[in-house]
């Protein structure tokens, strides 16, 4: 009688069988997703079977399975793409390495043992360029001291205004901590400047 009652002409009895068996394909073939969950089949069921509950749980099971399937395909695609990308990068690097090796060989072949001396000379030149002159170093330290002073001043101003406006104590605490931090940095910068000028 449930099939008679169903407004969308489903076969509730079959749907129940397959939802108990978790046979998702059969459920789809029986158009489970056209069930409007009206409960008419359950209403007329002499055995009081909770049909709608079964259908709802099957529907959510199917949806979950589908989502998982989509997710897993996405993950698989992503993984495959990543593998491809890494392979490609590896190949490019390999090609570069090969090119460099080739270039080095050619260079060796053309210049012979001079190449070694050239490399050493170039390295020495680079190291020389890196070291800075004492004047530059001094100027740098002085800049550091003055900027630290600026920061201390700013922190002082902020703390003062906070005190004036009677801001909450936590804020004041934070600001005073910031001020003392800035002061410590200033001290350090001064010490370094003094060390340098000695």
């Amino acid at each position: 009688m449930c099939a008679e009652a169903c407004p969308v002409s489903l076969l509730p009895q079959q749907l129940l069988w397959y939802s108990q068996a978790e046979d998702h394909e059969r459920l789809e073939a029986h158009n489970l997703f056209d069930c409007i969950e009206c409960g008419a089949c359950s209403y007329v069921c002499p055995s009081n079977i909770p049909l709608v509950q079964h259908y709802r749980s099957s529907k959510s099971d199917i949806k979950k399975a589908q989502e998982e399937k989509v997710k897993s395909t996405q993950a698989r695609e992503r993984f495959e793409f990543r593998k491809q990308r890494i392979e490609l990068a590896e190949k490019e690097r390999e090609a570069k390495r090969a090119a460099r090796r080739e270039a080095a060989k050619q260079a060796q072949a053309s210049t012979g043992t001079d190449a070694m001396a050239d490399i050493v000379a170039a390295a020495q030149a680079r190291a020389a360029a890196k070291t800075t002159s004492p004047e530059q170093e001094l100027a740098k330290l002085q800049r550091a001291v003055s900027s630290a002073e600026m920061r201390v001043e700013k922190a002082q101003v902020k703390l003062d205004s906070a005190l004036e406006n009677a801001e909450p104590t936590e804020k004041i605490n934070i600001l005073s901590a910031a001020l003392s931090g800035a002061q410590q940095k200033l001290e350090k910068a001064k010490v370094r400047l003094a060390e340098h000028s000695n």
Binding site: A3, V8, L11, S42
Partner: protein, 355 residues
């Protein structure tokens, strides 16, 4: 305040299994009265004996299966099976035939498959076929209808019948005889008209066979009551009766000596009406969709006729229904109704990749 998530339905129909089954039992009463009137107390005793056996064996097997006994006994399904089996068995058959048939129906055909709702075959018919094959002599001796008994002899009264059922060792003589379907089977070489004249079973009948026509009318009435109270749909019974009538019309052979009998005789003999309205309408073992039920009923009609006309058994409703029970799941797979909003009917075996 928390709202519980409740899904529909928020109300429930007044129908429940117990009431449905009781209704079926009540609906067999016209048939039972006709049987008792024409064939004596035998059927009544069968029904009672089968019901008691069914209740006891159902209780025992439920206990063994560790199921709530009271709950499942309260759905009356065992009683319905027993009543149908009792009606199908020949009146005044020995008590052990009834008991074996019933125990087989309830324990093996129903409970071992998982109980009500899980049996692939109609339990009453399984029991019937088992005893029919095992005890052919007891199962094919029918009592002579009242109207044909010689003057001065009546059917044994109730106590006498009980004695016969429980203590007699041989089928009784004197009050047993052939059924209309038997006579047709064994009256080879006679035309239908000759059979009708010679055999008082037909010559004294209104249109089918003495007594049998009333029994079948009784079941027809009961069946129509059930149809009216929407216990089942018309598709199965109508399909079966129409095919049976059509088959007997096609092979009627204008009453020659080869003819297996007239449509009326087939419709109102044997278990035709009982099978059509009480057995094949079993919602568990039959097809589920309306189209499926039409095919299922038609299949039974054809099988009944084939076995009656050309098979070894005079009646065939039980065999036909069991065979059709086999096919029901198959029919179901290919007769899904068109769902609202769809343009085509689908098949249950449709796989997602096929689309």
């Amino acid at each position: 305040m928390a709202f519980r998530q409740v899904s529909s339905p928020h109300a429930h129909g007044a129908q429940n299994t117990a009431r449905l089954m009781q209704l079926v039992v009540w609906a067999t009463i016209p048939g039972l009265i006709a049987l008792t009137w024409h064939f004596g107390w035998g059927s009544f005793i069968n029904v009672m004996l089968a019901s008691i056996t069914a209740v006891i064996s159902e209780a025992l097997i439920l206990k063994m299966r560790r199921r709530p006994v009271g709950f499942y006994l309260g759905d009356y399904s065992a009683v319905v099976t027993a009543v149908l089996l009792g009606l199908a068995l020949p009146p005044l058959c020995p008590w052990w035939v009834v008991v074996i048939g019933t125990v087989f129906s309830v324990v093996i055909a129903k409970q071992l498959f998982g109980g009500l709702g899980y049996n692939p075959f109609n339990p009453a018919m399984v029991g019937y076929v088992v005893v029919l094959i095992s005890f052919p002599i007891e199962m094919t001796t029918w009592v002579t209808p009242l109207a044909l008994l010689p003057d001065g002899i009546t059917h044994p009264d109730f106590l006498e019948s009980l004695k016969l059922v429980f203590f007699s060792t041989s089928p009784m003589d004197g009050v047993t005889g052939a059924t209309p379907l038997d006579s047709f089977k064994h009256a080879a070489g006679l035309t239908v008209d000759q059979i009708y004249q010679q055999d008082s079973l037909f010559s004294q009948a209104m249109f089918a066979g003495v007594g049998w026509e009333w029994v079948n009318l009784g079941f027809l009435v009961g069946g129509i009551v059930l149809l009216g109270s929407r216990v089942f749909t018309w598709h199965g019974p109508v399909a079966m009766l129409v095919t049976l009538a059509l088959m007997s019309l096609i092979f009627w052979d204008s009453g020659s000596s080869q003819s297996p009998g007239s449509p009326l005789m087939h419709l109102f003999s044997g278990a035709s009406m009982m099978g059509a309205f009480f057995i094949l309408t079993d919602p568990v073992s039959s097809a589920v969709s309306n189209r499926g039920r039409l095919i299922y009923g038609a299949l039974i009609g054809i099988l009944v006729y084939i076995i009656r006309a050309w098979g070894n058994y005079p009646d065939a409703v039980a065999f036909a229904i069991l065979l059709a029970n086999f096919t029901a799941p198959f029919i179901d797979n290919y007769t899904l109704p068109r769902t609202y909003g769809h343009t085509d009917r689908r098949k249950a075996t449709e796989r997602l990749e096929d689309k």
